[in-house]
């Protein structure tokens, strides 16, 4: 059991894994805070004020503009994340190789 834990620790301590964890966190934490604030902005503004009732273009209200902006935000954030995450997959292989190399040298 202890031995097995040591193997996991070995991967966790590789520089590639640390880089992966750090990069993911650096994207996910601000992105999540941003989309939650942006998302709840609509019900808060709509539930307590009337500022979204005016017309933006023709008969389209600001409420609809805000709503469509959420669609755009979802797609943009999704592609920003996925394009980064696909690059990070290399770090997984590097972490595996680093840990393997270490295990080899330890013998």
């Amino acid at each position: 059991m202890v031995d097995r834990d040591a193997e996991w620790l070995r991967v966790e301590r590789t520089s590639a894994f640390k880089e992966l964890a750090q990069k993911k966190k650096a994207f996910i934490v601000p992105a999540t805070i941003f989309f939650l604030v942006f998302y709840f902005g609509l019900p808060v503004l709509a539930g307590f004020t009337t500022i979204l009732d005016g017309y933006a273009v023709g008969s389209v209200t600001w409420a609809y503009v805000y709503a469509f902006a959420q669609f755009a935000m979802t797609w943009i954030l999704m592609h920003l994340y996925v394009s980064r995450a696909n690059r990070w997959d290399d770090l997984v292989d590097r972490a595996r190789n680093e840990a393997t190399g270490e295990a080899g040298e330890a013998r």
């Binding site: 097995r4 834990d5 193997e7 996991w8 070995r10 991967v11 966790e12 894994f17 992966l20 964890a21 993911k24 996910i28 992105a31 999540t32 989309f35 939650l36 998302y39 709840f40 609509l42 019900p43 808060v44 709509a46 539930g47 307590f48 004020t49 009337t50 979204l52 009732d53 273009v57 023709g58 008969s59 389209v60 209200t61 409420a63 609809y64 709503a67 469509f68 959420q70 669609f71 935000m73 979802t74 797609w75 954030l77 999704m78 592609h79 994340y81 996925v82 995450a85 696909n86 997959d89 997984v92 972490a95 595996r96 840990a99 393997t100 190399g101 295990a103 080899g104 040298e105 013998r107």
Partner: protein, 540 residues
């Protein structure tokens, strides 16, 4: 041909198509892994379509169009919330779940907490959520078939129940996935055609549609309802909490990420799903306003007080009886496919989590597990039918919203903390899930949904003639924080601490969970140690 005969022809065609898929899938449904997660062999785009199929349920297709037709902008909240929810799934849940799980959500929790109590509670919450969702779908299907073919409600429900049982027992997750894929394509095609018909009425100019809504139905249809006090405002926020977080806790969506081989495919399937779902939801105002303009709000309300038949009515108005029959058959396929996915989720929770791992302590043979999975699928279907028949008068959208609220309160906190919180322990997981589950259900019962008071505002009908104790219709504003609080307090007060649990062997080290969830390495001895000898020539 009379209209009813045309409808019957389309229904028979759809049923035949799904049965052919099931027959084909049954030859590949050979073991437990294929039965629960299609052997983890589903491709990214296929899974993306299947997720869309699972997600675009009767509530989305029939419910949102009807809600926009009758209430305008407020109905569109559902579309926004259901879509943005995929960011929670993509950024926080999907990849760790794929990397840690096997067949069910409880498997993922069990990869860290090795106790049968965590598994049992997770199975309980999965079954509860799936049941609410399933009753909602059966409800919608029964009403739809009743209207189209004139069968009594209970016959429709039993008919659907038999169909979905056949799909799952014979074809397992492979049949369910392909039925979802076909249905997603049909549903998108149908909605697109219907939207084109609506837009052709306004010179293919969406702005003209909005102008016509303003001039014929009034400005209120285009803006959120005017602020009317604290309770109403908080209720909107509470509903939105359930919508945006609930998806990440819905068992039948979560198990979709276990049908793909790795985290990268899980990601690409979310991209496909989010585009399809988002484009579909962009059509919902066209369908809803189209129905309000060309069918008429009065006629929609007369057919169904919640507006659930607005989309088929619109199809009849603009496309004639054949198109009406096609759209109705698609709506029917939608419901049957979603129910099938829910039965897989609920039966895997019972057979795999509870029976195999808790009662039999994982000592069953593969054959016994496979049989238990199929027997349970029949059992779950029967229970769902028995519950759906007496509950036929409940509102479809309300039941689905309840399922989302329970998922957001019971499952989401425990899933997130299992992945991200080092000190989390078994007591916290159990108390968090139970508190989220129980508080969501109890708050709904004492809310205006059930405690309607003696004379509620129409179209609501009195259920229990006591005035509501909890003022909000959606419980998430209170029950989601309670779910997190339960996890936190349970961990601090009741537990032995993550370190002690590790020493006792009931919790894996957080280092392992962290590495596994981020990298997808699952078998450390094989992947690291066996790889090592290849390096030996270099070191010696």
């Amino acid at each position: 041909m009379s209209d009813q005969v045309i409808s019957i022809v389309f229904f028979v065609l759809i049923i035949a198509l799904t049965l052919i898929i099931t027959a084909w899938a049954s030859r590949r449904n050979v073991d437990t892994s294929h039965h629960y997660v299609a052997g983890g062999e589903i491709k990214g785009w296929q899974n993306g379509l299947a997720i869309s199929g699972d997600y675009l349920s009767a509530a989305s297709f029939l419910g949102i169009a009807g809600a926009i037709a009758l209430t305008g902008f407020s109905g569109f909240y559902l579309s926004i919330g259901f879509l943005v929810a995929y960011l929670v799934v993509l950024l926080l849940v999907a990849e760790p779940l794929r990397n840690l799980g096997k067949y069910t959500m409880a498997d993922m929790l069990a990869s860290r907490f090795n106790t049968s109590s965590v598994r049992s509670v997770a199975a309980l919450s999965t079954i509860t959520i799936s049941m609410f969702y399933m009753i909602a779908q059966l409800n919608g299907a029964g009403a739809l078939i009743g209207l189209l073919l004139g069968f009594p409600y209970w016959i429709s429900v039993i008919g659907i129940g038999i169909l979905m049982t056949v799909y799952i027992v014979a074809g397992g997750m492979i049949a369910t996935t392909w039925i979802q894929i076909i249905k997603a394509v049909l549903l998108i095609a149908g909605s697109l055609l219907l939207s084109i018909l609506v837009l052709s009425k306004v010179g293919f100019n969406p702005f003209a549609l909005f102008s016509q809504v303003e001039s014929e139905l009034g400005k209120e249809m285009l803006s959120p309802p005017p602020p009317s006090g604290l309770v109403a405002g908080l209720d909107v926020i509470s509903l939105n909490i359930a919508l945006v977080l609930g998806t990440a806790g819905l068992p039948h969506i979560l198990i979709r990420f276990l049908t793909v081989p790795d985290a990268k495919t899980a990601r690409s399937s979310i991209v496909t799903a989010t585009w399809i779902i988002g484009l579909f939801y962009l059509l919902t105002p066209v369908l809803g306003y189209g129905a309000a303009l060309f069918v008429g709000q009065k006629e929609i309300e007369e057919a169904n007080v919640a507006g659930n038949l607005a989309a088929p009515q619109l199809a009849a108005q603009l496309g004639g009886p054949v198109f009406f029959a096609f759209i109705s058959a698609v709506a029917f396929a939608t419901i049957v496919a979603v129910v099938a996915g829910l039965v897989v989720a609920a039966s895997s929770a019972f057979a795999h989590d509870f029976y195999s791992n808790v009662i039999r302590h994982g000592e069953e043979t593969e054959r016994e597990q496979f049989r238990a999975a199929r027997v349970t699928a029949v059992g779950i279907s029967v229970v769902a039918i028995l519950l759906a028949i007496p509950l036929g008068s409940l509102n479809v959208a309300f039941l689905v919203a309840l399922a989302f609220a329970v998922a957001a309160s019971a499952n989401v906190p425990v899933i997130l903390l299992t992945i991200f919180w080092k000190r989390f322990n078994t007591t916290g997981a159990i108390i968090g899930m139970l508190l989220g589950l129980i508080s969501a259900v109890v708050l709904v019962i004492i809310s205006p949904n059930v405690f309607t008071g003696p004379s509620p505002e129409p179209p609501a009908t009195p259920i229990i003639p006591i005035d509501p104790i909890f003022p909000l219709k959606s419980p998430a504003l209170i029950s989601v924080p309670l779910g997190f609080l339960g996890c936190y307090l349970g961990t601090l007060l009741g537990g032995r601490g993550a370190e002690r649990e590790r020493e006792q062997g009931i919790q894996r080290s957080y280092d392992e969970i962290r590495v596994r969830s981020l990298t997808g390495i699952s078998d450390i001895e094989r992947e690291i140690k066996q790889a090592a000898p290849e390096q030996e020539p270099r070191t010696t």
